[in-house]
Structure formats: C-alpha cells, structure tokens
C-alpha cells in the first residue's frame, strides 16, 4: 500500500476539517473499492490516453503560476501534480492509504486552479485541468473535500444558490436595490418574473449577499439601454456552481437544469449573466454537458459580450472617460474559456482614457489563483494561494510602474484573488468590474 509523501512537513501543517475528518473515515479497503469502480465507470479514452502518452518532458511547467511562483518547485508543475495524484493511484492500482488521499485532495483542490493554461503549453494538448477535476471527483466520492468549499456545495444542494440565500431574502435584496437605483432613475424597475422578456439576467449567490451594488448598476445599465429584461424570483436565479469544482457532478447537473428551466419558464430569448468566470464555465461548458446539452439550450451571453453589444449598437453612451489609467486582468474562464479578451478591450477603450497592458495577457494570462474553487477552500489555504501567485503580483507591479492605478477584472473570483494579492504584496491598486466603470461614466436616463 502506498502511504503517500512522508517527508513533506509543510503539507502536514495545514489542517482542514473537511479533509482530516474525511480521511479518518476511510479504510484502505474502501479506498481500493471506490477507486476501482471509479476508474472503471468514470474514466475513459481521454484519461487513459493522457496517462499513456505523457513523455514526462516537463514542458508544461512554465505554464503554471504555482510552479513559477514557488521558485520552480517541480512538485507544483502540472505534470508533477498529476504524478503525485493520479500517477501514484494508477501505479499502485488503488492500493493507497487514507493519508495519501488527504494529500491528493490538497493538491487537486488547492494547488491547481484548473485554469487550462497548461493545456496550451503541452505539445500533445494534454488537458491537466481535466485530470485534476477527475481527481477531485474521486475525492468527492471518497468524502474528502475541503470544508469551506463543501459547505458551499451543501448550500447549492439545499437552496440552489451558493450562499444560503433564502427565497424571500433574494426578492427582498432585489427590491432593496431597485429602491436604491431609483436615486439615479426615478421610475426604474427590476422586473421580476416578467414572462416573455428578451433577457433573463442571472447572477451568482455572492451578488445579493456581498456585492448588491452590482445588481443596482446592472439595473441602471439595462434601463438606460432600454432592454426588455427580467430576473427570476424563484431558485434558478443563481448561475454559480461550486459543485462543479468539488466533483459533485450530479449537483452540478441539477443546478444547470434548474437555471435553464427557469429561463425556459420565463420564455426569454437569452440569458445574460453577470461578470463571473466560473459560472460561465459551468453554464457554457461543463454543467450543460453533464445534463446532455452539447451547447447551452438557451443562448447564454456573458456580461462582457453584452456590454460590447450595447456599445456597438449605441444603446449606451458615455459622458466622459474613466480617467485613471487601467490595466486588464484576463479571467481564465472567459478568455481561455470563451475568447472574450478582445471584447474586454473594446469596452475598456470605449470607457477608459488609458489602458496599460500586463504581459503575458489574453489567452496567455496568469490566473488569479482564486479560481477553480481554490479561494472557496477558505482561510486554511489562503497563504498558499497568495504565495502561489507571486508572478501575478509581479505583473501587477510592472503595470503599476508604468502608471496603471486600477485593475479591471471582470470576474468575481478574480476580484477575490487579486484583492488578496494586492493586499499581501502591498501593491496599493484599485479593483473594478467593467460594470463599475460603465456605471460611472455612462449617460443615465433620468
């Protein structure tokens, strides 16, 4: 039986109830049974081919911000992480110890943002993010998932939103924001349950919970642009999906089905979603597939695409340009996940007076280290996450030295991650959503 890495003291230092209690409940027999049936039923040609053909060339290493930020420690390279997890499991045919499963969980959940940058660096196009998500799925089946993100997954299961928001609280929050927004536009509405609207606007759980002003700003943009839109009053309003990242695919499927069915019930033509990256991945790429839709059954448009469209069609105009020089952080899930990088720049050019680029950028951006559910694993792993993205801090510092004062990051998780990085590395830069900037510079109907 493989006992896992013995000498690694740094790893033993992080205590997490979800992982530790999960490991306590495991026996080697149980692990072997679960692994055997998992490999048989849930892995196939991709998994096998990737495992068979990797020639251990190490060329994926330079793709990974964890590897680069941890002084090129090989344990943090994409293939290095596969070796320590799936590699050992295959080598020992599932005969591994509970302690080893705990270690793999920590690697798969907190040392990889499943950002897919390495898929662009492997000559064979091996998708390490897929392998890490497969590893997480196995951990989920073994009941070894970091506590904080598992709690979020529980919230999804119980309430169909990420933040334990009750149905009346949701409606209340929308009405509260409607009231606030009437300071700008006196007859503004946030239309609830308006059947036959052109657009259903959906957000992630944290918007009503922590960033309610974003809903207010979206309402002002919708109203000014003269959109025929609505928001649902029922579960299905939340497009986010931490179950996708804990490996709870069944719940991921139920969440996406509920989201699309809500849009179908409201008979909308399309769904426009707020500035969130992982939710887009879930709606456009992973969740829909689990349910059996090759592409989303109702078109889903990310906020960036929507803003760009509004500007193109002249639906919104600016009164002035945002003055402070900005830089752009490209979020993985909508850049490598949807190619929206030029659209972000279109909107920035329309609304800001000066853009200072960070390099590498666009599809080659470095991740914020918060995505892929890593920030959702909570405080126990925060230091590792922030230190694991020193390269991002270096990028930001360089942009700052060229004059950038504001970081535009059109993604919720990126905001969380960059906020911690800016604070930890004392960068003193401001963070904005595109919506923040548009709201600030747009001509508002009164």
């Amino acid at each position: 039986m493989y006992e896992g890495i013995v000498e690694d003291t740094q790893k033993a230092a992080i205590a997490d109830l979800g992982i530790d209690k999960g490991v306590e409940a495991l026996t080697p027999e149980k692990i072997e049974t679960v692994i055997t049936s998992f490999l048989e039923s849930e892995t196939g040609a991709r998994f096998k081919t990737y495992a068979d053909i990797c020639v251990h060339c190490g060329l994926c290493s330079d793709a990974c911000h964890y590897f680069l930020s941890n002084d090129r420690n090989p344990k943090f390279s994409p293939a290095g992480k596969v070796k320590q997890t799936i590699g050992e499991i295959l080598k020992h045919k599932g005969k591994v110890s509970p302690k080893f499963i705990g270690q793999t969980a920590e690697i798969a959940f907190t040392e990889c943002n499943v950002c897919k940058r390495c898929a662009m660096y492997c000559p064979f196009g091996i998708d390490v993010a897929y392998l890490m998500l497969t590893m997480r799925r196995l951990c989920h089946k073994l009941g070894v998932v970091p506590q904080y993100i598992q709690d979020t997954a529980h919230s999804h299961s119980a309430t169909f939103n990420q933040m334990w928001v009750k149905e009346d609280e949701w409606i209340d929050s929308l009405q509260w924001q409607e009231d606030e927004a009437r300071g700008d536009i006196s007859n503004l509405r946030i239309p609830l349950e308006k059947e036959g609207s052109d657009i259903m606007y959906s957000v992630i759980g944290p918007e009503p919970k922590f960033r309610a002003q974003l809903i207010y700003q979206a309402a002002v943009i919708m109203e000014t642009a003269g959109m025929n839109w609505t928001m649902p009053a029922t579960p299905g309003w939340d497009n986010s999906d931490m179950c996708m990242y804990t490996g709870d695919s069944e719940m991921m499927g139920r969440l996406k089905r509920s989201h699309f069915e809500t849009a179908a019930r409201l008979k909308v033509k399309r769904i426009v979603m707020g500035e969130c990256g992982h939710a887009f991945r879930s709606v456009y790429d992973m969740g829909n597939r689990w349910v059996g839709w090759k592409m989303p059954p109702i078109p889903v448009i990310h906020a960036i695409e929507f803003y760009d469209e509004l500007f193109q069609k002249g639906k919104i105009k600016v009164t002035h340009k945002f003055e402070e020089p900005v830089t752009i952080h490209d979020p993985c899930n909508i850049v490598r996940g949807r190619g929206l990088h030029e659209k972000i720049r279109n909107v920035v050019h329309r609304t800001c007076s000066s853009l200072i680029e960070m390099y590498p950028n666009r599809e080659h951006n470095y991740c914020c280290a918060a995505g892929g559910g890593v920030i959702n694993c909570g405080p126990p792993f925060k230091a590792k996450r922030v230190e694991g993205d020193r390269v991002k801090a270096d990028q930001l510092r360089e942009a700052k030295s060229k004059g950038a004062k504001v970081v535009v990051a059109p993604c919720h998780n990126c905001h969380g991650g960059l906020e911690d990085i800016i604070h930890h590395y004392k960068l003193d830069m401001k963070l904005k959503f595109l919506g923040d900037i548009i709201y600030e510079v747009m001509e508002k109907t009164t």
């Binding site: 090989p74 390279s77 949807r338 590498p360």
Partner: protein, 219 residues
C-alpha cells in the same frame, strides 16, 4: 552467427512489423471504441478544421508560444524527429534490401546525409538525457522507464552508425542494429512512444475544444 542473423533479419522482422502495425491498429481502434463508450464528447466536439489548425500550429517550428520559450529544446526536438524518420526510411542500404526482397523502391538520401542525421539523432538523445538529469522539473517526472525508452530509441542509431563505419565487430553490430530496430518498432504501440499514434487525436481534440467551443487559441 549466421543463424542468428537469418533469424533477426527474417522471422523477427515480420514479427516486429506485425506487432507494430497490428498493435497500432489495435491501440487506435480500442481507444476509439472506448471513447465512443465513455467519452462521447470527443466525437461530439471534434471539429476537423480546428483540429487541423491546432495540429499545424504544433508541427510548424516555433508555431506556439511554448516553443518560442524553449528555443534550444524546440530545435533539438525538430531535428530529432525529422532525422529519426527520414534516415531509416530513405537510407540507401534499407532501400536496397527492400528492392531485393520485393522489387519495390523509392528515393534515397546520400550515405553522408544519413550519417549526419544518425549522429543528430544520437546527439539529440544525449541532449534529452542530460535535460532529464539536469532540469529539476524534468528530473522530478523521470523514472527508470524514461531512460529505457530513450535507450530503445537511441540503440538502432548507435548500432547502425557503428555498423556503417565498421569500427568494431561488424557482424555483431548489424545483428544488434536489426534487433534494436525491431524492439523499437514493437515498442511504439505499447509504450509512451505511442504518442506518435495519439498525437493527432489529443492535439486535434484540445484544438477543437479551444477553437470551436471556446473561441480561443491553443498555441
């Protein structure tokens, strides 16, 4: 010695080609069936034009960002793979043997060109080995099988080189040369050398995902 020569240059050649060709068909066919059964997405999302776009970017030297980041590795990899294929396929001596057996032939390269290519393959193998030993991120991934594979690939070229120059034990070298070539062929479908077979599929699939679904580049 004659008996051994007859054996390695007769039945073993057939055996190694049967294993190589049969094994390759078997690997690709079983993988295609497994994909049909378990990874329907591969068929659903595979898109020939985006697959080709990705493959082209990754077979043209310096066609990807990562190749630009590692110029020495890129040059060595190209020289290695090209020489590895051209030298044995277009070596005059090989073509003469085939002509003798089946009366078919094709163009050949000069012996001195083949000699240079052989040396380039050997030098590349030394480079790959040193890289495995020296670079921590490669050393970490390396196990014994990686050195064995490297030896399997280098052996036909080392022995071929020695046989051609007749520096030592010509007959023995020729036997070892044929034998090691057969081992390499037979190893292709069943070891990590199978990347030769699967490269177009894995590359094509990720290219399709990036191109057709995600509308992003993958190079």
């Amino acid at each position: 010695m004659h008996h051994i020569y007859d054996f390695v240059s007769g039945p073993l050649v057939w055996l190694s080609f049967i294993i190589f060709i049969g094994g390759s068909i078997y690997r690709i066919a079983t993988m295609a069936m497994l994909a049909k059964k378990k990874d329907g997405v591969v068929y659903d999302y595979m898109d020939s034009s985006y697959a080709l776009r990705s493959i082209l970017h990754w077979i043209i030297p310096f066609g990807s960002e990562n190749m630009k980041k590692h110029p020495v590795m890129t040059v060595v990899t190209y020289v290695f793979h090209i020489s590895l294929m051209i030298a044995p396929l277009f070596l005059f001596a090989h073509i003469a043997l085939i002509k003798e057996s089946w009366d078919i032939s094709w163009g050949y390269i000069s012996d001195s060109t083949a000699d240079i290519m052989t040396m380039l393959v050997i030098a590349s193998c030394v480079f790959f080995m040193l890289r495995r030993i020296k670079l921590p991120e490669v050393r970490y991934l390396t196990d014994t099988s990686d050195y064995i594979l490297l030896a399997i690939v280098a052996a036909p070229f080392v022995t071929g080189f020695l046989a051609y120059h007749q520096w030592m034990g010509y007959k023995l070298m020729v036997i070892l040369h044929i034998l090691s070539g057969e081992v390499m062929l037979a190893a292709i479908p069943f070891t990590r050398l199978s990347h030769v077979l699967f490269f177009p599929f894995t590359r094509g699939y990720i290219g399709s995902e990036f191109g057709a679904v995600r509308h992003a580049r993958d190079w």
